[in-house]
Protein backbone atom coordinates (compact mmCIF):
# COMPACT_ATOMS: atom_id res chain seq x y z
CA UNK A 1 0.00 0.00 0.00
CA UNK A 2 1.49 3.37 -0.93
CA UNK A 3 2.37 5.71 1.88
CA UNK A 4 -0.33 8.32 2.54
CA UNK A 5 0.65 11.96 1.92
CA UNK A 6 -0.96 13.08 5.19
CA UNK A 7 -1.38 10.73 8.11
CA UNK A 8 -2.92 11.72 11.43
CA UNK A 9 -2.81 9.31 14.37
CA UNK A 10 -4.63 9.65 17.69
CA UNK A 11 -4.62 13.45 17.55
CA UNK A 12 -5.82 15.37 20.60
CA UNK A 13 -5.79 19.12 21.12
CA UNK A 14 -6.87 21.09 24.16
CA UNK A 15 -6.93 24.82 24.74
CA UNK A 16 -6.84 24.93 28.53
CA UNK A 17 -9.94 23.05 29.68
CA UNK A 18 -11.43 23.09 26.20
CA UNK A 19 -10.84 19.69 24.65
CA UNK A 20 -11.22 20.59 20.96
CA UNK A 21 -9.92 17.46 19.24
CA UNK A 22 -10.68 14.14 20.91
CA UNK A 23 -8.75 11.51 19.02
CA UNK A 24 -8.58 11.98 15.26
CA UNK A 25 -7.26 9.32 12.88
CA UNK A 26 -7.16 10.29 9.23
CA UNK A 27 -5.20 9.50 6.09
CA UNK A 28 -5.07 11.45 2.84
CA UNK A 29 -3.60 9.60 -0.13
CA UNK A 30 -1.34 11.39 -2.59
CA UNK A 31 -3.39 13.33 -5.15
CA UNK A 32 -6.59 13.02 -3.15
CA UNK A 33 -8.90 15.86 -2.20
CA UNK A 34 -10.46 15.52 1.24
CA UNK A 35 -13.13 17.98 2.35
CA UNK A 36 -13.70 18.40 6.08
CA UNK A 37 -17.20 19.57 6.95
CA UNK A 38 -19.01 20.10 10.21
CA UNK A 39 -20.64 22.70 12.44
CA UNK A 40 -18.51 25.57 13.69
CA UNK A 41 -16.72 24.67 16.88
CA UNK A 42 -16.40 21.06 15.75
CA UNK A 43 -12.61 21.36 15.59
CA UNK A 44 -12.17 21.11 11.82
CA UNK A 45 -10.03 24.28 11.50
CA UNK A 46 -7.95 23.20 14.50
CA UNK A 47 -7.39 19.83 12.83
CA UNK A 48 -6.16 21.56 9.68
CA UNK A 49 -3.88 23.88 11.66
CA UNK A 50 -2.36 20.88 13.44
CA UNK A 51 -1.21 19.47 10.09
CA UNK A 52 1.33 22.29 9.60
CA UNK A 53 1.74 22.84 13.33
CA UNK A 54 0.21 26.31 13.49
CA UNK A 55 -1.40 24.63 16.49
CA UNK A 56 0.70 22.25 18.50
CA UNK A 57 -1.15 18.97 19.11
CA UNK A 58 -1.52 17.98 22.76
CA UNK A 59 -1.21 14.32 21.88
CA UNK A 60 -0.82 12.13 18.82
CA UNK A 61 1.22 12.18 15.64
CA UNK A 62 1.00 13.92 12.27
CA UNK A 63 3.00 12.79 9.23
CA UNK A 64 3.27 14.75 5.99
CA UNK A 65 5.05 13.06 3.06
CA UNK A 66 6.56 10.56 5.46
CA UNK A 67 8.06 13.19 7.79
CA UNK A 68 6.73 13.33 11.31
CA UNK A 69 5.63 16.93 11.80
CA UNK A 70 5.02 16.39 15.50
CA UNK A 71 8.59 15.18 16.14
CA UNK A 72 10.24 17.78 18.38
CA UNK A 73 13.49 17.36 16.47
CA UNK A 74 11.91 18.20 13.11
CA UNK A 75 12.84 21.41 11.25
CA UNK A 76 9.30 22.77 11.16
CA UNK A 77 10.18 25.60 8.76
CA UNK A 78 11.49 23.04 6.26
CA UNK A 79 8.33 20.93 6.59
CA UNK A 80 6.05 23.93 6.19
CA UNK A 81 7.70 24.79 2.86
CA UNK A 82 6.14 21.61 1.51
CA UNK A 83 2.69 22.47 2.87
CA UNK A 84 0.79 25.36 1.32
CA UNK A 85 -1.92 26.98 3.41
CA UNK A 86 -4.78 29.26 2.41
CA UNK A 87 -6.63 31.17 5.11
CA UNK A 88 -10.18 32.42 5.47
CA UNK A 89 -8.90 36.01 5.79
CA UNK A 90 -6.42 35.70 2.85
CA UNK A 91 -3.57 37.17 4.95
CA UNK A 92 -1.76 38.74 2.01
CA UNK A 93 1.07 41.06 3.00
CA UNK A 94 -0.58 44.48 2.60
CA UNK A 95 2.64 46.52 2.48
CA UNK A 96 3.92 45.03 -0.80
CA UNK A 97 2.51 44.46 -4.28
CA UNK A 98 0.88 41.27 -5.50
CA UNK A 99 4.08 40.20 -7.24
CA UNK A 100 6.15 40.94 -4.14
CA UNK A 101 3.75 38.83 -2.10
CA UNK A 102 4.77 35.89 -4.26
CA UNK A 103 8.44 36.83 -4.66
CA UNK A 104 9.30 37.65 -1.03
CA UNK A 105 8.72 34.15 0.43
CA UNK A 106 10.53 32.48 -2.46
CA UNK A 107 13.56 34.69 -1.99
CA UNK A 108 13.68 34.74 1.82
CA UNK A 109 12.68 31.12 2.43
CA UNK A 110 13.75 29.19 -0.68
CA UNK A 111 16.69 31.51 -1.45
CA UNK A 112 15.68 31.75 -5.08
CA UNK A 113 17.24 34.47 -7.23
CA UNK A 114 15.18 37.49 -8.15
CA UNK A 115 14.75 36.52 -11.81
CA UNK A 116 13.64 33.00 -11.04
CA UNK A 117 11.29 34.08 -8.23
CA UNK A 118 9.69 36.68 -10.49
CA UNK A 119 9.23 34.13 -13.24
CA UNK A 120 7.59 31.62 -10.87
CA UNK A 121 5.40 34.42 -9.52
CA UNK A 122 4.23 35.36 -13.01
CA UNK A 123 3.43 31.75 -13.89
CA UNK A 124 1.36 31.27 -10.77
CA UNK A 125 -0.50 34.55 -11.20
CA UNK A 126 -1.40 33.39 -14.70
CA UNK A 127 -2.55 30.12 -13.24
CA UNK A 128 -5.12 31.91 -11.05
CA UNK A 129 -6.01 34.37 -13.84
CA UNK A 130 -4.57 37.49 -12.22
CA UNK A 131 -1.47 38.25 -14.28
CA UNK A 132 -2.89 41.73 -14.94
CA UNK A 133 -2.91 42.53 -11.21
CA UNK A 134 0.81 41.88 -10.74
CA UNK A 135 1.61 45.45 -9.73
CA UNK A 136 -1.51 46.14 -7.67
CA UNK A 137 -1.53 46.25 -3.88
CA UNK A 138 -3.73 43.74 -2.04
CA UNK A 139 -6.10 46.46 -0.82
CA UNK A 140 -6.91 47.33 -4.44
CA UNK A 141 -8.25 43.83 -5.12
CA UNK A 142 -11.63 42.25 -4.37
CA UNK A 143 -11.80 39.53 -1.75
CA UNK A 144 -12.01 36.84 -4.40
CA UNK A 145 -8.96 38.22 -6.19
CA UNK A 146 -7.03 38.44 -2.93
CA UNK A 147 -7.82 34.82 -2.16
CA UNK A 148 -6.63 33.74 -5.61
CA UNK A 149 -3.39 35.66 -5.06
CA UNK A 150 -3.05 33.87 -1.71
CA UNK A 151 -3.43 30.53 -3.52
CA UNK A 152 -0.83 31.61 -6.10
CA UNK A 153 1.52 32.64 -3.28
CA UNK A 154 1.25 29.23 -1.65
CA UNK A 155 1.71 27.49 -5.02
CA UNK A 156 4.84 29.43 -5.90
CA UNK A 157 6.60 27.67 -3.02
CA UNK A 158 6.03 24.38 -4.89
CA UNK A 159 4.09 22.60 -2.10
CA UNK A 160 3.29 18.89 -2.12
CA UNK A 161 0.13 19.45 -0.09
CA UNK A 162 -2.35 22.31 0.09
CA UNK A 163 -4.47 23.11 3.13
CA UNK A 164 -7.53 25.34 2.73
CA UNK A 165 -9.13 26.79 5.86
CA UNK A 166 -12.63 27.93 4.85
CA UNK A 167 -11.21 29.72 1.80
CA UNK A 168 -14.54 31.15 0.64
CA UNK A 169 -16.22 31.93 3.97
CA UNK A 170 -15.15 35.60 4.02
CA UNK A 171 -16.20 36.25 0.42
CA UNK A 172 -19.26 37.90 -1.04
CA UNK A 173 -21.37 35.14 -2.64
CA UNK A 174 -20.74 36.28 -6.21
CA UNK A 175 -16.95 35.99 -5.71
CA UNK A 176 -16.97 32.44 -4.36
CA UNK A 177 -17.14 30.81 -7.80
CA UNK A 178 -13.80 32.14 -9.08
CA UNK A 179 -11.93 30.83 -6.06
CA UNK A 180 -13.59 27.43 -6.23
CA UNK A 181 -12.79 27.24 -9.96
CA UNK A 182 -9.10 27.71 -9.23
CA UNK A 183 -9.26 25.02 -6.54
CA UNK A 184 -11.08 22.68 -8.92
CA UNK A 185 -8.31 23.03 -11.52
CA UNK A 186 -5.70 22.43 -8.82
CA UNK A 187 -7.49 19.24 -7.77
CA UNK A 188 -7.70 18.00 -11.35
CA UNK A 189 -3.95 18.56 -11.71
CA UNK A 190 -3.40 16.04 -8.94
CA UNK A 191 -2.62 18.28 -5.95
CA UNK A 192 -3.16 16.65 -2.56
CA UNK A 193 -5.68 18.90 -0.82
CA UNK A 194 -7.33 19.09 2.55
CA UNK A 195 -10.20 21.58 2.49
CA UNK A 196 -12.28 22.81 5.41
CA UNK A 197 -15.38 24.19 3.76
CA UNK A 198 -19.09 24.87 3.89
CA UNK A 199 -19.43 24.61 0.10
CA UNK A 200 -21.30 21.33 -0.22
CA UNK A 201 -21.54 21.38 -4.00
CA UNK A 202 -17.75 21.75 -4.18
CA UNK A 203 -17.32 18.88 -1.74
CA UNK A 204 -19.68 16.67 -3.71
CA UNK A 205 -18.10 17.42 -7.09
CA UNK A 206 -14.40 17.69 -6.30
CA UNK A 207 -13.67 15.75 -3.13
CA UNK A 208 -12.56 12.15 -3.29
CA UNK A 209 -13.59 11.80 0.32
CA UNK A 210 -15.61 13.86 2.75
CA UNK A 211 -15.05 13.86 6.50
CA UNK A 212 -17.84 15.01 8.81
CA UNK A 213 -16.64 16.22 12.20
CA UNK A 214 -18.63 17.13 15.27
CA UNK A 215 -17.59 17.63 18.88
CA UNK A 216 -13.91 17.02 18.17
CA UNK A 217 -14.29 13.59 16.59
CA UNK A 218 -14.82 12.27 13.08
CA UNK A 219 -18.44 11.17 13.00
CA UNK A 220 -18.54 9.90 9.45
CA UNK A 221 -16.19 9.67 6.51
CA UNK A 222 -16.38 8.17 3.05
CA UNK A 223 -16.80 8.96 -0.63
CA UNK A 224 -18.30 12.39 -1.23
CA UNK A 225 -21.41 11.00 -2.89
CA UNK A 226 -22.12 8.90 0.16
CA UNK A 227 -21.39 11.36 3.00
CA UNK A 228 -23.00 14.37 1.34
CA UNK A 229 -25.60 12.54 -0.79
CA UNK A 230 -26.65 9.74 1.52
CA UNK A 231 -25.30 10.26 5.03
CA UNK A 232 -25.64 7.33 7.41
CA UNK A 233 -25.25 9.11 10.72
CA UNK A 234 -28.19 11.17 12.03
CA UNK A 235 -25.85 14.00 13.12
CA UNK A 236 -24.46 14.26 9.58
CA UNK A 237 -27.95 14.24 8.15
CA UNK A 238 -29.09 16.93 10.56
CA UNK A 239 -26.09 19.14 9.74
CA UNK A 240 -26.52 18.74 5.99
CA UNK A 241 -30.25 19.48 6.18
CA UNK A 242 -29.45 22.74 7.92
CA UNK A 243 -26.66 23.81 5.62
CA UNK A 244 -28.36 22.85 2.36
CA UNK A 245 -31.59 24.61 3.28
CA UNK A 246 -30.99 26.99 6.19
CA UNK A 247 -34.50 28.40 6.04
CA UNK A 248 -35.95 24.97 6.80
CA UNK A 249 -34.28 24.75 10.21
CA UNK A 250 -36.64 24.43 13.15
CA UNK A 251 -36.86 27.23 15.67
CA UNK A 252 -34.26 26.76 18.39
CA UNK A 253 -35.60 24.92 21.39
CA UNK A 254 -34.89 22.02 23.68
CA UNK A 255 -33.75 19.28 21.36
CA UNK A 256 -32.06 16.05 22.26
CA UNK A 257 -29.16 14.78 20.22
CA UNK A 258 -28.77 17.91 18.11
CA UNK A 259 -25.34 19.13 17.10
CA UNK A 260 -23.47 21.51 19.34
CA UNK A 261 -24.39 25.08 18.48
CA UNK A 262 -21.99 27.98 18.25
Amino acid sequence: MPQPEIEIRGLHKSFGDNHVLRGIDLEVARGDVVCVIGPSGSGKSTLLRCVNLLEEPSEGQVFVGGTEVTDIEVDIDAVRRRIGMVFQQFNLFPHVTVTENLVLPQRRVLRRGKAEATKVARENLERVGLADKADAYPAQLSGGQQQRVAIARALSMGPEVMLFDEPTSALDPELVGDVLAVMRVLASEGMTMMVVTHEMSFAREVADRVVFMDGGVIVEEGPAAQVVGDPRHPRTRHFLDRILDPSAAEAPGPEAGGPAAG
Binding site: N52, L54, D77, A78, R80, R81, I83, G84, M85, F87, Q89, N91, L92, F93, P94, H95, L104, P105, R108, V109, L110, A150, R153, A154, M157
Partner: protein, 266 residues
Protein backbone atom coordinates in the same frame (compact mmCIF):
# COMPACT_ATOMS: atom_id res chain seq x y z
CA UNK B 1 -39.81 76.43 24.47
CA UNK B 2 -39.74 78.94 27.28
CA UNK B 3 -37.21 81.39 25.84
CA UNK B 4 -38.14 83.65 22.97
CA UNK B 5 -34.70 83.21 21.43
CA UNK B 6 -34.18 80.25 19.13
CA UNK B 7 -31.43 77.78 19.91
CA UNK B 8 -29.30 79.11 17.07
CA UNK B 9 -29.65 82.72 18.24
CA UNK B 10 -28.57 81.78 21.74
CA UNK B 11 -25.51 80.01 20.38
CA UNK B 12 -24.56 83.07 18.33
CA UNK B 13 -24.82 85.32 21.36
CA UNK B 14 -22.71 82.96 23.46
CA UNK B 15 -20.04 82.83 20.76
CA UNK B 16 -20.10 86.61 20.42
CA UNK B 17 -19.45 87.04 24.13
CA UNK B 18 -16.49 84.64 23.99
CA UNK B 19 -14.93 86.48 21.05
CA UNK B 20 -15.40 89.81 22.81
CA UNK B 21 -13.67 88.50 25.95
CA UNK B 22 -10.79 87.17 23.89
CA UNK B 23 -10.26 90.45 22.06
CA UNK B 24 -10.53 92.38 25.32
CA UNK B 25 -7.82 90.22 26.89
CA UNK B 26 -5.53 90.79 23.91
CA UNK B 27 -6.06 94.54 24.04
CA UNK B 28 -5.47 94.60 27.76
CA UNK B 29 -2.14 92.79 27.43
CA UNK B 30 -1.19 95.02 24.50
CA UNK B 31 -1.92 98.21 26.39
CA UNK B 32 -0.56 97.26 29.79
CA UNK B 33 2.70 95.58 28.73
CA UNK B 34 5.74 97.82 28.50
CA UNK B 35 6.61 97.20 24.85
CA UNK B 36 9.58 99.50 24.78
CA UNK B 37 11.35 97.71 27.56
CA UNK B 38 10.45 94.34 26.06
CA UNK B 39 11.81 95.36 22.70
CA UNK B 40 14.92 96.71 24.35
CA UNK B 41 15.55 93.44 26.14
CA UNK B 42 14.44 90.92 23.50
CA UNK B 43 14.57 92.45 20.03
CA UNK B 44 17.69 94.52 19.50
CA UNK B 45 18.06 94.59 15.73
CA UNK B 46 21.83 95.13 15.69
CA UNK B 47 22.26 92.20 18.11
CA UNK B 48 20.17 89.97 15.88
CA UNK B 49 22.49 90.70 12.98
CA UNK B 50 25.51 89.71 15.06
CA UNK B 51 24.08 86.26 15.75
CA UNK B 52 24.19 85.28 12.11
CA UNK B 53 25.48 83.17 10.54
CA UNK B 54 26.84 81.37 13.60
CA UNK B 55 23.47 80.62 15.13
CA UNK B 56 22.57 78.66 12.00
CA UNK B 57 25.92 77.18 10.97
CA UNK B 58 26.95 76.10 14.48
CA UNK B 59 24.02 76.19 16.91
CA UNK B 60 21.13 74.99 14.76
CA UNK B 61 23.38 72.54 12.97
CA UNK B 62 24.50 71.02 16.28
CA UNK B 63 20.93 70.84 17.55
CA UNK B 64 19.95 68.89 14.44
CA UNK B 65 22.98 66.59 14.68
CA UNK B 66 22.39 65.90 18.39
CA UNK B 67 18.71 65.22 17.77
CA UNK B 68 19.25 62.89 14.84
CA UNK B 69 22.04 60.92 16.49
CA UNK B 70 19.93 60.51 19.62
CA UNK B 71 16.94 59.53 17.50
CA UNK B 72 18.82 56.89 15.52
CA UNK B 73 20.42 55.42 18.63
CA UNK B 74 17.08 55.48 20.44
CA UNK B 75 15.29 53.87 17.50
CA UNK B 76 17.70 50.95 17.28
CA UNK B 77 17.70 50.43 21.05
CA UNK B 78 13.94 50.97 21.24
CA UNK B 79 13.30 48.33 18.57
CA UNK B 80 15.54 45.91 20.45
CA UNK B 81 13.72 46.56 23.73
CA UNK B 82 10.33 46.29 22.05
CA UNK B 83 11.30 42.87 20.69
CA UNK B 84 12.57 41.83 24.13
CA UNK B 85 9.32 43.02 25.66
CA UNK B 86 7.39 40.75 23.27
CA UNK B 87 9.81 37.83 23.61
CA UNK B 88 8.70 34.43 24.83
CA UNK B 89 11.80 34.37 27.04
CA UNK B 90 10.69 35.73 30.42
CA UNK B 91 14.01 37.32 31.54
CA UNK B 92 14.08 39.38 28.31
CA UNK B 93 10.62 40.67 29.12
CA UNK B 94 11.68 41.58 32.66
CA UNK B 95 14.78 43.45 31.51
CA UNK B 96 12.73 45.34 28.93
CA UNK B 97 9.99 46.25 31.42
CA UNK B 98 12.47 47.45 34.01
CA UNK B 99 14.32 49.50 31.40
CA UNK B 100 11.14 51.14 30.16
CA UNK B 101 9.83 51.98 33.63
CA UNK B 102 13.24 53.25 34.77
CA UNK B 103 13.95 55.59 31.88
CA UNK B 104 10.39 56.83 31.51
CA UNK B 105 10.23 57.56 35.21
CA UNK B 106 13.35 59.71 35.41
CA UNK B 107 13.76 63.28 34.20
CA UNK B 108 15.95 63.40 31.09
CA UNK B 109 18.11 65.95 32.89
CA UNK B 110 19.17 63.39 35.50
CA UNK B 111 20.08 60.91 32.78
CA UNK B 112 22.29 63.53 31.18
CA UNK B 113 24.08 64.31 34.40
CA UNK B 114 24.47 60.57 34.96
CA UNK B 115 25.96 60.07 31.48
CA UNK B 116 28.25 63.07 31.95
CA UNK B 117 29.51 62.07 35.41
CA UNK B 118 28.90 58.41 36.17
CA UNK B 119 30.01 56.87 32.89
CA UNK B 120 33.52 58.41 32.98
CA UNK B 121 33.78 57.37 36.64
CA UNK B 122 32.66 53.83 36.03
CA UNK B 123 34.92 53.26 33.04
CA UNK B 124 38.03 55.34 33.74
CA UNK B 125 40.26 55.89 30.76
CA UNK B 126 37.61 54.95 28.22
CA UNK B 127 36.07 57.68 26.18
CA UNK B 128 32.54 57.46 24.84
CA UNK B 129 33.17 57.34 21.07
CA UNK B 130 32.35 60.58 19.35
CA UNK B 131 33.15 62.75 22.37
CA UNK B 132 30.32 65.13 23.21
CA UNK B 133 28.35 63.93 20.21
CA UNK B 134 28.56 60.36 21.48
CA UNK B 135 27.51 61.39 24.99
CA UNK B 136 24.52 63.30 23.66
CA UNK B 137 23.47 60.42 21.43
CA UNK B 138 23.73 58.15 24.48
CA UNK B 139 21.83 60.48 26.83
CA UNK B 140 19.04 61.35 24.40
CA UNK B 141 18.91 57.83 22.97
CA UNK B 142 18.63 56.09 26.35
CA UNK B 143 15.58 58.15 27.23
CA UNK B 144 14.01 58.10 23.76
CA UNK B 145 14.45 54.32 23.51
CA UNK B 146 12.14 53.78 26.48
CA UNK B 147 9.32 55.77 24.86
CA UNK B 148 9.96 54.41 21.38
CA UNK B 149 10.03 50.81 22.67
CA UNK B 150 6.47 51.17 23.94
CA UNK B 151 5.36 52.80 20.68
CA UNK B 152 6.99 50.12 18.55
CA UNK B 153 5.61 47.33 20.74
CA UNK B 154 2.11 48.72 20.23
CA UNK B 155 2.78 48.92 16.49
CA UNK B 156 3.94 45.31 16.30
CA UNK B 157 0.90 44.17 18.25
CA UNK B 158 -1.36 46.14 15.91
CA UNK B 159 -0.28 43.96 12.97
CA UNK B 160 -2.98 41.28 12.57
CA UNK B 161 -2.09 37.83 13.92
CA UNK B 162 -2.83 36.28 10.53
CA UNK B 163 0.25 37.97 9.06
CA UNK B 164 2.58 35.97 11.30
CA UNK B 165 0.60 32.79 10.65
CA UNK B 166 0.74 33.31 6.88
CA UNK B 167 4.49 33.93 7.01
CA UNK B 168 5.11 30.89 9.24
CA UNK B 169 2.96 28.67 7.01
CA UNK B 170 5.14 29.71 4.05
CA UNK B 171 8.21 28.49 5.92
CA UNK B 172 9.52 31.76 7.39
CA UNK B 173 11.21 31.34 10.75
CA UNK B 174 9.82 33.54 13.53
CA UNK B 175 12.77 35.92 13.32
CA UNK B 176 12.68 36.17 9.54
CA UNK B 177 8.92 36.74 9.56
CA UNK B 178 9.44 39.56 12.06
CA UNK B 179 12.06 41.24 9.89
CA UNK B 180 10.43 40.74 6.48
CA UNK B 181 6.72 40.92 7.25
CA UNK B 182 5.77 42.20 10.72
CA UNK B 183 8.25 45.01 11.45
CA UNK B 184 7.82 46.78 8.06
CA UNK B 185 4.07 46.90 8.69
CA UNK B 186 4.54 47.96 12.31
CA UNK B 187 6.76 50.87 11.28
CA UNK B 188 4.13 52.15 8.90
CA UNK B 189 1.75 52.25 11.85
CA UNK B 190 4.17 54.04 14.20
CA UNK B 191 5.62 56.67 11.85
CA UNK B 192 3.35 59.46 13.20
CA UNK B 193 4.10 58.83 16.91
CA UNK B 194 7.80 58.38 16.14
CA UNK B 195 7.87 61.72 14.34
CA UNK B 196 6.29 63.21 17.43
CA UNK B 197 9.12 61.71 19.46
CA UNK B 198 11.54 63.42 17.09
CA UNK B 199 9.97 66.79 17.93
CA UNK B 200 10.33 66.07 21.65
CA UNK B 201 13.96 65.04 21.19
CA UNK B 202 14.66 68.19 19.24
CA UNK B 203 13.69 70.21 22.29
CA UNK B 204 15.38 67.86 24.77
CA UNK B 205 18.68 68.30 22.94
CA UNK B 206 18.93 71.57 24.89
CA UNK B 207 19.94 69.44 27.90
CA UNK B 208 23.42 69.19 26.37
CA UNK B 209 23.92 72.32 28.44
CA UNK B 210 24.63 70.09 31.42
CA UNK B 211 27.36 68.05 29.76
CA UNK B 212 29.78 70.92 29.37
CA UNK B 213 30.50 71.61 25.71
CA UNK B 214 33.13 73.54 23.78
CA UNK B 215 32.26 76.65 21.77
CA UNK B 216 31.95 74.68 18.55
CA UNK B 217 29.70 72.10 20.17
CA UNK B 218 27.10 74.55 21.43
CA UNK B 219 23.53 74.03 20.35
CA UNK B 220 20.73 76.58 20.20
CA UNK B 221 19.86 76.97 23.87
CA UNK B 222 23.43 77.07 25.13
CA UNK B 223 24.39 79.41 22.31
CA UNK B 224 21.49 81.73 23.06
CA UNK B 225 22.22 81.77 26.78
CA UNK B 226 25.95 82.38 26.32
CA UNK B 227 25.39 85.29 24.01
CA UNK B 228 22.65 86.68 26.21
CA UNK B 229 25.05 86.85 29.14
CA UNK B 230 27.85 88.27 26.98
CA UNK B 231 25.66 91.06 25.66
CA UNK B 232 23.56 91.45 28.83
CA UNK B 233 20.53 91.26 26.59
CA UNK B 234 17.97 88.50 25.95
CA UNK B 235 17.65 88.97 22.21
CA UNK B 236 19.77 85.86 21.41
CA UNK B 237 17.35 83.72 23.44
CA UNK B 238 14.39 84.99 21.44
CA UNK B 239 16.19 84.24 18.16
CA UNK B 240 17.20 80.78 19.38
CA UNK B 241 13.56 80.14 20.26
CA UNK B 242 12.49 81.12 16.76
CA UNK B 243 15.07 78.72 15.35
CA UNK B 244 13.42 75.86 17.28
CA UNK B 245 10.02 76.82 15.92
CA UNK B 246 11.30 76.90 12.34
CA UNK B 247 11.87 73.16 12.69
CA UNK B 248 9.21 71.99 15.17
CA UNK B 249 6.17 73.69 13.63
CA UNK B 250 6.63 72.15 10.15
CA UNK B 251 7.42 68.78 11.75
CA UNK B 252 4.22 68.90 13.80
CA UNK B 253 2.37 69.76 10.63
CA UNK B 254 3.88 66.70 8.94
CA UNK B 255 2.80 64.54 11.91
CA UNK B 256 -0.79 65.73 11.56
CA UNK B 257 -0.75 64.98 7.84
CA UNK B 258 0.65 61.51 8.45
CA UNK B 259 -1.96 60.84 11.12
CA UNK B 260 -4.74 61.98 8.83
CA UNK B 261 -3.43 59.73 6.06
CA UNK B 262 -3.18 56.76 8.44
CA UNK B 263 -6.78 57.35 9.58
CA UNK B 264 -7.96 57.41 6.00
CA UNK B 265 -6.15 54.17 5.17
CA UNK B 266 -8.02 52.32 7.92
Amino acid sequence: MTSRLSRRQRRRISQGIQYALFVAALVLVGVLADWDRLQNQFAQKDLVAELFPEIITTALRNTVVYTLSGFVFGLVLGLLIALMRLSSVAPYRWVASVYIEFFRGLPALLIFIFVGVAVPLAFPGTEIPGGTYGKVALGLGLVAAAYMAETIRAGIQAVPKGQMEAARSLGFSHARAMVSVIIPQAFRIVIPPLTNELVLLFKDSSLVLFLGVTLDERELTKFGRDLASQTANSTPILVAGLCYLIVTVPLSFVVRRLEARADKAK
